[in-house]
């Protein structure tokens, strides 16, 4: 198999683009796709600071690497979920990566802030761990990014993440989630960051391949709480479709984005935001979902957790 660009020996085939690349041409392709996303979707400019949500997995470390190579001013944000060995290894990957490149980062520890890890917190508030985790991550990432003067928050969501999330939302006709599923979410309030997904044009496998080629050491293990997650089911379904008809995932997500743009021009989406009466952060409800979660935790779970100690 030969590189379609320079005919050197290829190391990866991209069936959805009907092409194959050698390491240097593949690396160029990956960087181009990220630049195309940043510039084409007007995600951010060189004058703005970009907070990067880093878990220690392939997507977030690849994102951080590319943004810093492209000369953007970045700050890594890592949330220590307090899930035993998995969290320790994840944080270690982030620390080693950052110190080798002299990149700044901050760690927000759930145990330090709530006295418990995400698994106990989720049990305490009677919610699935991934849903409690999402609420806590979104809230803290936003607050910490703005505290450090970063108006933009970049996450490592890739084409597979977005296509599978779209499939899930369509299967359940989650209309309000469909409106929010975009690679750029403008900040609709001064206390909110602009949220961007610069890797949305790249497949999960392309990102992992780039990480291996660049010798980026990331955590291969999965979050223990994600076992049995619906996302795996949707991804598996899409990968079977992709295997039978390459390009399916790409078409599914990109055609959705085209339709979304057309709809937004007709009736722009204006979220109705006020400030949470408890913490002052923007929210669509009187009390924001983070304060609701923390409130439940304090009322129900913390006395029990204290007894455990």
């Amino acid at each position: 198999m030969r590189c379609r660009k320079c005919s050197a020996k290829a190391i990866i085939r991209l069936p959805r683009h009907n092409t194959a690349f050698c390491p240097p041409c593949f690396s160029e392709y990956v960087t181009d796709q990220v630049q195309r996303a940043i510039k084409g979707d007007r995600m951010f400019g060189h004058a703005e600071g970009v907070a990067v949500a880093v878990s220690g997995g392939k997507d977030s470390l690849v994102l951080w690497e590319i943004l810093s190579r492209l000369g953007y001013r970045t700050l890594g944000l890592h949330i220590d979920l307090g899930i035993g060995e998995y969290s320790r290894i994840s944080q270690r990957k982030v620390e080693v990566f950052a110190s080798a490149r002299n990149l700044p980062f901050v760690v927000h520890s759930l145990r330090e802030n709530h006295g418990a890890g995400i698994t106990e917190i989720a049990e305490g508030v009677h919610r699935p761990p991934c849903s409690a985790c999402g609420v806590i991550k979104r809230y803290n990432m936003n607050v910490i990014a703005l505290q450090h003067g970063m108006p933009v928050l970049a996450t490592g969501h890739n084409l597979d993440d977005e296509a599978s999330r779209l499939l899930g939302n369509v299967l359940h006709w989650q209309d309000d989630y469909l409106d929010k599923q975009s690679p750029v979410l403008p900040n609709s309030h001064p206390k909110l960051v602009r949220k961007v997904k610069p890797l949305y044009r790249l497949a999960e496998r392309e990102i992992a391949a780039w990480a291996v080629l660049q010798k980026i050491d990331y955590i291969v293990d999965e979050c223990p709480n994600s076992v049995g997650s619906k996302m795996f089911v949707y991804k598996d379904a899409l990968n079977r479709l992709e295997d039978a008809a390459p390009g399916t995932k790409h078409q599914f997500y990109f055609q959705f984005l085209d339709r979304q743009k057309a709809r937004a021009q007709v009736s722009p989406i204006e979220p109705d935001l006020r400030e949470c009466v408890s913490c002052g952060q923007p929210s669509t409800a009187e009390i924001c979902s983070y304060c609701k979660l923390v409130g439940t935790l304090q009322r129900e779970a913390e006395p029990a957790l204290k007894v455990l100690k």
């Binding site: 496998r205 992992a208 391949a209 291996v212 080629l213 291969v220 990968n239």
Partner: protein
């Protein structure tokens, strides 16, 4: 050949030589969901894996 698999970590063995794509088909793994690594090198799906080789089949799908 020796094949190192993840989730959960385990080993498998197949007779070589065989193309990467063939190895994946025999293990019933979709090529788009993994990377195949020999030593520290990524290898393409038309590459031959010899009987004396050890390869890692690394999943690329995460739950996020």
């Amino acid at each position: 050949m020796k094949i190192l698999l993840h989730h959960p970590p385990r080993e498998a063995a197949l007779k070589g030589p065989k193309k990467v794509l063939q190895v994946l088909r025999e293990l019933e793994i979709l090529p788009d969901t993994v990377l195949v690594i020999r030593g520290e090198e990524l290898i393409a799906e038309d590459e031959i894996v010899n009987d004396s080789d050890t390869i890692e089949v690394r999943p690329v799908i995460s739950g996020g």
